[in-house]
Symmetry: C2
Subunit: 198 residues, 2 copies
């Protein structure tokens, strides 16, 4: 049986919007290593039932999602499952980087590209407002939690070629970025590649 395969690249500090039919796989590849990719998604049928970090953490009983875990929508339905994960270190605690965050950190009003802007642009054609984008699944992002609850954002542990493979468990609309935050990416924002098989 032939399968439709699409391979593409997200330039540094950019993002894309994707539609996955149920059963399709999405593989996200850190080509150079040390690069975060933020992912958010919605149930295609409603366009309002979005990814839920809280539901996913609750039902998987872990904040460290990897192979065998599922990403849940706010309603509790499964959007994506994780089939394969060669890195094993991702974040599901923090929101995507945003213009506001960069302006706070730099104490200036200078423009800076951000995952939130890129995700908002990816979902805009579907009529999904930016305020529906909540906590993203931050692929390859390295945010350890100390025993006292404090978090730190460290460079990713991902090596060149590390990948994570998802399967769509229902029809979904996905926003995916090559993260724009120099500090989360070891000082330099790099590209992200992805492959869809449907």
């Amino acid at each position: 049986m032939s399968r439709d395969v699409r391979w593409s690249r997200i330039a540094p500090q950019q993002g894309v919007g994707l539609e996955l039919r149920r059963g399709a796989t999405l593989t996200v590849i850190d080509t150079e290593g040390g690069q975060v990719a933020d992912l958010f998604c919605f149930d295609r049928a409603t366009l309002t039932d979005g990814l839920s970090s809280g539901r996913s953490i609750d039902y998987n009983e872990t904040i460290a999602l990897s192979s065998g875990h599922a990403l849940y929508a706010n309603s509790g339905s499964v959007l994506l499952s994780i089939l394969e994960d060669t890195c094993g270190r991702h974040d599901f605690l923090v929101t995507p980087c945003s213009l506001q965050m960069f302006q706070m950190l730099s104490a200036s009003d200078a423009y800076h590209p951000s995952c939130l802007e890129n995700l908002a642009r990816a979902f805009e054609p579907y009529g999904i407002a930016a305020d529906r984008i909540t906590t993203t699944f931050n692929i390859f992002m390295n945010v350890p939690v100390a025993p006292d609850g404090k978090i730190r954002v460290l460079p990713p542990t991902s090596k060149a070629g590390d990948l994570i493979r998802f399967r769509a468990e229902t029809d979904v609309v996905v926003g995916l970025t090559a993260c724009s935050d120099e500090l989360s990416n070891g000082g330099r924002c790099k590209a992200i590649e992805f492959e869809i098989r449907s």
Copy 2:
């Protein structure tokens, strides 16, 4: 200067909707001890800019929010600040208990009251749909994170009379519950009291 004070009680497995004007304080009291209260809120001006666990964890740099921390909206604006906290143990990782969750855990389709239902009812008069209710700030909920990322839901550490006091940093609509989940509350669902000073 006289202040308007309102003291009230949430019966076990119930919830309320509250409006707080900027500057008002909300004190949530665990009268008996060992009882969780789920809180969610929206900016009154938009009714779409909701509480964000991810933004709050990111900007406070901790998952263990307590006195001196702020609860942020998804947009990044501050909704509530925490003035006082005699317990020091709350959860901001998991979603409110829901009918779906109880039915999954019990492998039955029996009805069970839930924080999600109670919050949805609290926000309904404002035209806020249930799919806007994401990860709640789970007052007195005890969810330790193991070094490997796994979470457990343990009985609250709160003692009789423990309280947490918030100040509204803008006009907000708040949903607050006395949590309906026996397992999160040491086996018995109890009442929650609260006081508003405006």
